[in-house]
């Protein structure tokens, strides 16, 4: 079991309240996923040449006491360009004006235990072990702002309970995916992608789906075409919720083995595994509530 939540606000004023609206959604899915939680939030993109990475220090010896400022100074000295940093305990967002591969390579060489959570111009990503309420408090989720987000509460079945195996998973830039279910052919997908130079970080089945879809997008497929190929190649049970800088997308396997419910008003589109995560939303009593059909694509624009 696992819980997924997604929220896309249509009313610009609600962007300031994105985190506040989402926290009860995430906590509502605690019974479905008590061991880890995470979310990816999409906001206004950085300038064309800039990139940001979300970095997790929980796997280093210093954990939440990691010397982030020291890291940003070292990076600045190495790159010769300013590095912006926002720190939340064992998590930091680094912003810079060089190719992210250079930064990531430097981090891998000098701080191999730092875990890069996401890369892009719009995405910030947080994930850690603990109950959804603990993880939400750890990173001040209620203060997050942005246009849309994708969240997950995990009850691990396919791989160990560790921060890097929590969801969302990311691949490439500004793409993330959360999964409720279990795939039966993740290793086949992996064996197909690895010879193409696609590197995996964990043994988690969801990572295979994430890297497969991101690979299709990078190869030039639009989101709908990539999802169609996902239906053809990914075998197993899934409700997938995906985020890109301007879209939120949902698909369910043909047997609809894993639940999903959508509530839509003039102000927002909210998605959750179960209605109990939507019940607190403003205007929910007058929302259009429906269950997304199996093997259909649902794509909402931010």
């Amino acid at each position: 079991m696992c819980g997924i939540v997604g929220l896309l606000v249509k009313t610009p004023a609600l962007r300031e309240k994105l985190g506040e609206l989402m926290v009860p959604m995430l906590i509502g899915m605690t019974e479905r996923g008590p061991d880890s939680a995470g979310l990816a939030v999409f906001g206004n993109p950085l300038a064309e040449s800039q990139r940001k990475i979300s970095v997790y220090s929980g796997l280093t010896e210093d954990g939440a006491d990691f010397n982030w400022l020291g890291l940003s100074h070292e990076l600045k000295a190495h790159l010769g360009v300013p590095v912006g940093i926002e720190i939340k305990g064992n998590h930091a967002v680094l912003t810079f004006d060089v190719a992210p591969a250079i930064v990531k390579r430097w981090i891998a060489e000098h701080h191999p235990k730092l875990h890069i959570l996401s890369t892009g111009r719009s995405i910030d990503l947080y994930k850690d072990i603990g109950t959804p309420a603990e993880v939400a408090a750890r990173y001040d989720f209620s203060k997050l702002t942005g246009s849309h987000l994708v969240g997950h509460t995990r009850m691990a079945t396919e791989s160990a309970v560790t921060p890097d195996r929590a969801h969302p998973f990311t691949a490439g830039e500004d793409f993330c995916l959360v999964h409720n279910g279990s795939l039966s052919n993740p290793n086949g997908i992996r064996r197909m992608l690895e010879p193409r130079g696609i590197h995996f970080e964990t043994d988690n089945d969801t990572e295979a789906a994430c890297r497969f879809l991101e690979w299709r997008l990078r190869e030039g497929d639009d989101l709908e075409t990539a999802l169609q190929k996902g239906f053809e190649e990914l075998d197993g049970f899934f409700t997938f919720l995906m985020g890109t800088p301007d879209k939120l997308a949902l698909i369910r396997d043909p047997f609809a083995c894993k639940p999903a419910v959508v509530a839509e008003t003039d102000d927002y589109v909210a998605i959750a595994s179960e209605f109990r995560s939507l019940a607190h939303l403003p205007g929910i009593k007058h929302a259009t509530v429906f269950e997304p059909a199996p093997e259909e694509m649902y794509v909402w624009n931010a």
């Binding site: 639940p259 209605f275 019940a279 269950e291 199996p294």
Partner: protein, 229 residues
Amino acid sequence: MERLTFDLATQPLRELNTFLHNDAKDGKARHVTVLNPDGAHNIAVGLDCPVEVEIVGHAGYYAGGMNKSASVTITGSAGTGVAENMMSGKVHVKGFASNGAGASAHGGLLVIDGDAGLRCGISLKGGNIVVGGSVGSFSAFMAQAGRMVICGDAGDALGDSLYEAVLYVKGNVKSLGADAQYEPMTDEDIAAVASLLDQAGLDHDPKAFRRIASKRSLYHWNADANQEY
């Protein structure tokens, strides 16, 4: 007390279910209204007295499960397994129902005004199900006894491996499952559909329905079938 209201925003679900199992059975209320269900699981499960329960809003998993004698109405939608294993009485969902609605119901009547998800009436054992909208794939899988009336369409593999349950469909059927077949509507079938529609409060022409029942070719092992069904 004739009527009583439970507000699940302030009262624990267990208080409601304990009341329905004990006090309602002792005749302390004939009508119970449940406010703010907010998708909670197991609302009004295991009832076994003729109490009327109205759930105002959306119910979570297994609402009205194992129902006996009671009449449960859900004004919003119902999650997975509504009226699962119902024995008697009535469960009425005014919105849509998720997967496995009325699964293995032995008796009683389940009415869903909207659509039902996949596997509606799976392993039905004698209950009746009337769906005002459409049903998802694999509905009535291995249904053994009872009847399903579907006013809208049906998804793939309707009635796969049917036993003696009978299905009536007004709309399109995407595909029939193994061993299910269309059969002519008799006067008895038309009367049965008319009666179930009447009990469900739905207005359709009973003659517009098609009957689906088992070919019974899977009842006996056929060594020559070569795994082709």
